[in-house]
């Protein structure tokens, strides 16, 4: 197709138009459901299934958002999600940076085996873990608590964070550490004073991804909590579906509100995030 361009030596407007059309069709597929969610969140509930469907209806209002944001029970879901996701992110980053330093800077017996174990953990099915987690959390008194959720979410976030941070530290020259040691520092100071400060882009990428995983987690949040006071946003959306089957506008408003943290983080750190993500996933 595009070799024609070269042969004739002129820009091919026809091909450009075709590529653009392809992109637009793809964007409709990806974006229309999102647009519909947004549009529905501003409708009156009686207008949700109005025929013919319209993006903006006469009853356009922020009522659905007001209903969510003035309900303490629903605000509690958001608070729970923030507490859990932020704690998971901080603990994951701390643990991952320590191990990434160990993996990146040392050779030690069993290193390869532990590496394989960490990669494999990513494949362990959550449904296999949730049964013993339930037994374990009840036995440890962590059932229906923040620590229970935070700890179990780390099984998803830690392996990926370690793999990405190790890859990042590997790109930093070892001579940086040596320089710290010449100045009388040790490995600990090399990690915190030198490597961590210059790894901020990598840490941000890992942090954003970790936050997203925890914010979105569903199965453990469903099984390891019992009371509404401990439920997170994904479960809150589901509860809305059960209690008010017909409050579609509120469900959409809650969905939008529940997606804003992740959308914002993504938009703010898009470049670093995609860069970090692909350097971890695409080892090429």
């Amino acid at each position: 197709m595009s070799d024609v361009t070269v042969r004739h030596g002129r820009p091919n407007h026809w091909l450009k138009a075709a590529a653009f059309t392809g992109l637009v069709i793809g964007a409709l597929y990806a974006g229309l459901p999102v647009l519909w969610m947004l549009a529905t969140s501003f409708k009156g509930n009686g207008e949700v299934f109005a025929v013919p469907p319209k993006l903006i209806t006469p009853g356009f209002s922020l009522d659905a958002y007001t209903a969510i944001l003035t309900d303490p029970a629903r605000l509690r879901f958001f608070m729970n999600s923030y507490i859990v996701a932020i704690a998971v992110t901080l603990l994951t980053l701390l643990t991952a940076m320590l191990s990434a330093y160990g993996f990146s800077r040392y050779e030690f017996p069993g290193k390869k085996l532990i590496n394989i174990a960490i990669v494999s953990v990513q494949a362990v099915p959550p449904i296999t873990l949730v049964i013993p987690y339930f037994g374990l959390m009840v036995a440890l008194g962590l059932y229906n608590t923040y620590p229970g959720l935070i700890l179990t979410h780390m099984v998803f976030t830690l392996p990926y964070a370690i793999i990405m941070m190790t890859a990042y530290f590997n790109t930093l020259p070892r001579e940086l550490d040596e320089a710290v040691k010449v100045d009388g520092g040790n490995a600990w100071t090399a990690l915190w004073r030198v490597l961590v400060p210059i790894s901020v882009p990598g840490i941000v990428a890992v942090g954003v991804y970790t936050f997203m995983i925890s914010w979105n987690e569903y199965l453990f949040a469903l099984t390891l909590t019992r009371t509404d006071a401990m439920r997170t946003v994904p479960i809150g959306i589901q509860l809305l579906m059960g209690q008010h089957s017909y409050e579609w506008n509120q469900m959409m408003a809650m969905s939008i509100l529940g997606s804003i943290p992740v959308l914002l983080l993504f938009l703010l750190f898009q470049r670093r995030f995609i860069g970090g993500l692909t350097s971890g996933a695409v080892k090429d």
């Binding site: 595009s2 960490i118 362990v124 296999t128 590997n170 995609i274």
Partner: protein, 318 residues
């Protein structure tokens, strides 16, 4: 990884000159030997508590007559496994899971690759492509609970999908896509494809950008057409990424629970029952934790087969 190793060598040349002479103090050597274990010990502890211990527990449960809810479990050997493997619902779930993960992975790849190639075209400006890239990643940024309610709204018998299909004359009347045995699996897979292709797309886009333009130019000079360049230049270059992503996607899709639970719940009449929903129901609806554990161990074994291929593929690439 090519990039990483170049960086180390490239940057390492200068400071290497002032590397200090190795200290041969015995204490230093010992610290040096123990230090890595100090750094990785929190991880090892967490991985042990979060995976090793639970896996041992669930395997233990699966050989007992009851677990968690009963005080005095009795060893029953493989009885739970026999029970699960002879349960028609389990076999149905196994078949459904196979269909679901195969279709999802193939279409994730096809759509992800198509979008990645569109976003990698040299025909359009970088700004245009950057804007479209954000739109294309959108589905991936929403949590599964949100995706489930949005598509339930769209696929409702009175929803916008049915409106469009009846208006253009494809359907005579609205279909309850997620609650009709004949369409539930298709509808569920459709939603899963929508929610999962962006991850393929991002990885493939990075891989495509890594294909040296020189190779394309050379092939072009030799008179290779679009398809030939794709087949003999692009594809061999991105093949390892495709294989890794496909195996990873098979694993992830087989673990999908939230989307199924929140759209069809495994129904209607088991039409979308999967290994994850079957296991969940055994445990948390029927409270048959021992049977559920046997099912969970079977799921783990099936996943380990896939994971083995993934780890091998990663090792080959490293």
């Amino acid at each position: 990884m090519n990039l990483s190793s170049t960086n180390i060598e490239g940057l390492g040349v200068r400071p290497a000159a002032r590397r200090p002479a190795a200290r041969s103090n015995a204490a230093v050597v010992r610290t040096r030997r123990l230090a890595p274990f100090a750094f990785i010990s929190p991880t090892v502890a967490l991985i042990t508590v979060l995976t090793v211990v639970p896996i041992v527990m669930v395997v233990g449960y699966s050989f007992m007559d009851s677990a968690i809810v009963a005080p005095n479990p009795v060893f029953v050997g493989f009885a739970n496994y026999l029970k699960v493997l002879s349960d028609p619902t389990f076999l149905l779930a196994l078949g459904n899971t196979f269909v679901f993960i195969s279709l999802s992975t193939i279409l994730h790849l096809v759509i992800g690759l198509a979008f990645a190639m569109l976003l990698n075209t040299s025909l359009l400006s970088d700004v245009t492509k950057a804007i479209f890239r954000v739109v294309y990643i959108l589905p991936w940024l929403f949590t599964i609970a949100v995706i489930a309610v949005v598509w339930r709204l769209i696929m409702d018998p009175y929803g916008v999908a049915n409106y469009i299909l009846t208006s253009v004359g494809i359907l005579n009347q609205g279909v309850n896509w997620l609650a009709t045995p004949g369409s539930a699996m298709g509808a569920l897979t459709f939603i899963n494809i929508w929610s999962g292709y962006p991850f393929f797309m991002i990885s493939l886009l990075a891989a495509l950008q890594g294909v040296p333009t020189v190779l394309h130019e050379a092939a072009r000079v030799d008179g290779a057409g679009w398809w030939q360049r794709f087949r003999y230049v692009t594809l061999p270059h991105i093949r390892p990424v495709i294989i890794s992503m496909a195996v990873l996607d098979l694993i992830w899709t087989s673990q999908q629970f939230a989307l199924i639970w929140l759209t069809t719940g495994g129904g209607p009449l088991g039409a979308t029952e999967m290994l994850s929903t079957y296991t969940y129901k055994q445990a948390f609806s029927s409270f048959e934790f021992a049977t559920a554990s046997a099912s969970a161990v079977i799921v783990l074994l099936l996943t380990m087969i896939l994971a083995f291929f993934y780890v091998r593929q990663q090792t080959v690439r490293d």
